[in-house]
Structures are given as C-alpha cells and as structure tokens.
C-alpha cells in the first residue's frame, strides 16, 4: 500500500516538473510566435517598431567580449590547479573556496559591484566593456570548474607519454592535455554563453539600456534579455515582449541541444 502511494507520488512529481516546463515554454511559444513580425528585426530601433535587432547584435558582442576575458583566465587557472599546483597546497584551497564563493554570488551583487568598480571607480561609464567585465567575473567560476573537470578526465598516460618523448610541461599542456580536454571545455563555454544571454540584473547598471547599435565597446548597449525586461516592465509592448521571449527561448534551446550533444560525445569517449 505504502509502496504504491510512493510510486504515485514520484510519478506525479516528475509529471509536475515536466508540466511546468511545458507550461512556460508552451504558453510563450503559442502566444509569442504570431507576434514575430519582420519589423521587429529592422535595422534601426524606434519606439514604433521596437526592433530587437540592435539588442541581438549587442548580445553577440557582449558574449564575445565576456568570453574573450573569462575563457583564458578560467582555462589558465584550471591548468594551474590541475597541472602545476601541489596537492593540498594552501593557495589551491584558497582559490577553490573563492571560486565557490563567486559561483554563489547572485547577479544583482555582481551588477552592483560592476557599477561601483568598473563603471564608477574605473570611469568606464555604462558601457559594453563594463558589462562584459562584470559578466566575465560571473562566468569565471563556471569556466574554471568545467575546465578543471575536463583536465582531470585526461588520462595520466597521455602526460607520461609526452614527458617520455621529451616534451616539457608547457608543451605537454598545450599540445596534449588541452586538445584532449577541448570538448569538456567547450561544454563549459556553452553553459557560460547561456548565462550571458539570460542575464539582466548584472547588466542593467553596468552596460545600461541604450537600444541602438554600439559605436564602440565603450558605448552603452542593452542585450536581448535587458531589452525584454524593458519591454515587459514598461507595459506598453507586451506583444513585442512575447516575441522577444520566443527568440530567447530559441537561443536557449539551441544552447541546450549543443551542450547535450557535446556531453554525449564526451561520454562515448
């Protein structure tokens, strides 16, 4: 009797989880797809067309700049932790703890820090650069951790083989270890892209909300998520907000499919 009840409970819960996903995605797709009109993708943003094209371009720039900063830092840090550091060293423990702390900090605190540090103290103003630096800090622990796992998964035999052939540590890292860990690192990067694309709270006060193409990396620009937040909270452009939500969901689908297929390839070996 208890057994059957428990079985019903777990099945019901799983159905509820799947159901809430279906509800969110289904509702937004059904309501939003009819609003995907060509004028939403016009070159120039005006209050008439509320084009999201500049926001899409801003999102791409933001993603590229954030990754350009966070990827080398995260990968190099992971290389140090896995390939160089002595086990049980105090510094390594400190780095691990701080990375874990960074991973738990909510995006609004990153946004506030970005405003105080990059925007105000370093005088960058509301700019793509300030936003990208803030996001880079935010995704750093993610890149670090996934790279670390990928490096640890490379068999020691590879390293011993390289050393045996006379390669130095550095050559071993760049020629042998990193290439074998590439798919794992890529999976982490894709997750990071997902966080960048979906971020609002950390960007509102660092990259600002200007809805046009940026002139340079030092001009303000809203990403697609910030654009959607502006549309939804102004209350005047609900249809356009639906359409933007559809585009965001499509991006998230793409990112998830991509990281899923990479994970599968890694699992196959």
């Amino acid at each position: 009797m208890t057994a059957r009840l428990l079985r019903w409970l777990v099945v019901g819960a799983a159905a509820l989880t799947l159901g809430s996903l279906a509800l969110v995605v289904g509702y937004i797709l059904i309501q939003g797809v009819p609003h995907l009109r060509p004028e939403l993708f016009e070159l120039e943003y005006t209050t008439q067309n509320v084009s999201m094209l500049p926001a899409i371009v801003n999102t791409l720039i933001m993603t590229a700049v954030s990754l350009a900063i966070a990827l080398p830092l995260g990968v190099f840090a992971a290389v140090y932790l896995v390939e160089y550091a002595r086990r049980g060293s105090r510094l390594v423990a400190l780095i691990r703890i701080t990375a874990e702390t960074l991973a738990g900090i909510p995006s609004i605190i990153y946004g506030l820090f970005g405003l105080l540090f990059f925007v105000t103290a370093l005088k960058m103003g509301f700019s793509i650069l300030a936003g990208a630096l803030t996001l880079a800090l935010m995704i750093l622990p993610l890149v670090l951790r996934t790279t670390e796992e990928a490096l640890q998964a490379v068999p020691d035999l590879y390293r011993e083989g390289a050393f045996g052939l006379g390669a130095g540590r550095l050559r071993t890292v760049f020629r042998i270890v990193l290439p074998s860990a590439a798919p794992g690192i890529l999976a982490g990067v894709i997750l990071a892209v997902g966080r960048i694309v979906g971020e609002t709270a950390a960007l509102l006060y660092t990259a600002g909300t200007v809805a046009s193409f940026p002139k340079s990396i030092l001009s303000s620009g809203r990403t697609l998520s910030v654009h959607m937040f502006a549309l939804a909270s102004e209350g005047l452009y609900v249809d356009q907000a639906y359409a933007t939500a559809v585009v965001l969901l499509i991006v998230v689908f793409g990112i998830n499919t991509l990281s899923g297929s990479i994970a599968k390839r890694i699992a196959k070996g």
């Binding site: 777990v10 819960a13 989880t17 969110v24 550091a85 701080t98 130095g168 965001l248």
Partner: protein
Amino acid sequence: MKTNAFREKAMRAVFLSAACVSVLAVLLISLFLFGGGFPGMAKIGFFEFLFGQIWKPMNGIFGILPMILGSIYITGYALLLGTPVALLTAIYLARFCPQRLYRVLKPAVSLLAGIPSVVYGFFGLIVIVPTVRQWFGGNGYSLLSGSTLLAMMILPTVITVTEAALRAVPETYYEAALALGAPHERAVFFVQLPAAKSGVLAGIVLGAGRAIGETTAVAMVIGNQARMPAGLVRGLRTLTTNVFLEMGYSADLHREALVATAVVLFVFILLINLFFGMLKRRMLA
C-alpha cells in the same frame, strides 16, 4: 635550452596569476561592498538600519527589516512549494524512470535551468499574477506569486544535486534492503534516501541560495511595496529587488543604504555558501 626554461617559468607565472584572479575578485567585491555599505550603515545606525520597519528614502528613513523578512519569507515559501516536488522528481529520475523517458526528462530539467529569469518573470507576470488575483484575491502581485515562480525556478537546482546524491549511495545498500524483503519503493525511500541525507540537504541549501539571490523574475511579480510582509496575497519587497529598483536613481545616503542592503544580502549568501560547502564535504567524506 635556456629560453625553454625561461618560457616554462614565465607561463607557470601566467597560469598562477590567472588562478589568483578569483581570489582577487572576491577581495575586490568584498572591499567595494563593505567599504561602500558600512559608512552608510554607521550613519543610519546599525540597529535602525537592520531592524527599522520603515523605508522612506525621500524622508531619509532607511529601515530594511521589511526587505530582510521579505527575502526570508519568499525563499521559505518557495522551498516549501518546490522542495517536495524536486525531491520526488529526483527520486523518480534516479530510481524509477525507464531509460527511454530519462532521455526526455533529463534534458527537460536542464532546459528549466537554462530559461532566463526575465522569461520566467514575464511568464509570472502574464500567467501566475492573474491566476493568483482570480483565485485568491488581491491584485495578484504578491508573496504567493513570487514564491510560486521561485519554486519553479529552483526545481532544476534541487533536482540535479539530489539526483547526484542519490546515485552516489552505494548499490549494496539498496540490494541489502531488497534481500531483507523490502519492495523497491521502500528500499529507495527508507534506505537510499536517508543515506543520501547530506547531499539532499546540500541541494536544498543551494536552492535557497538561488531563491534568495533571484532578482529580475521576482521584481516582476511581487509588487515591490517597501512595507512589512502582510500576507500571502499582499505585495512585498526583497533585498535583491530593493537594490535593483532604486539603484538607478539613488544618490548620497540613499545609494549608501542600497549598497548596505546588498551587504546584508551578501552576508546571507556567504552563510548559505558556507553551509553548502560543509554539507558537500560531508557528502564526499
């Protein structure tokens, strides 16, 4: 040969400095938050700031107790609503789910984690808020709407950690329970689940961290009135949304009070992180 040795050393230094960036980042964040927040707190008075029930920046009154309670309430209710579903789903995924269905459910859970908070917030705005208004009264922008939305948002976090914890329990536990005559369900619920206790708790704590830190989605559905929480269908404000909504136009002491609000949030997060780290280490031990 000499250049090689030099290159090795130089790159080692580069790797090391990259590794120190996260230490530097935490230091800088703490410095700027505490440095920006403490003077304001001192000016307002620590007690008045933390336990003051009124937040009226225009009149120079800065009490954030409503927001502290708001954050705690909304996180508490979100956990109350979300945790049972998440735990049961994790148990289903780890122990009941047929292979074929798993290939659908697992990506579904990571998709839930991938949906941006602004999309969740919009969904809350157009679906949850009107539903709450219709069924429970009030204007719909409420504690109930916020915690329902958050409950959905923390599902993937709690599910993922709990499932991993359940899978980490040695198979022998389960088999021993079966050998003693327990049916599958009992073996899972009364042997495996208790064995995974630390991991399950870690998942819930991580979910709490996500919930208390969530900003955009919550801001869109809770009404944001800066007053003491007054019931499930009434509006309220959290620490995160206080910073989010007012930072744009604040100045002077108001701005310092907002940074100080973030400091309080930061302390909550640090405590949660500490607790999570402790549980995780116990899980691995």
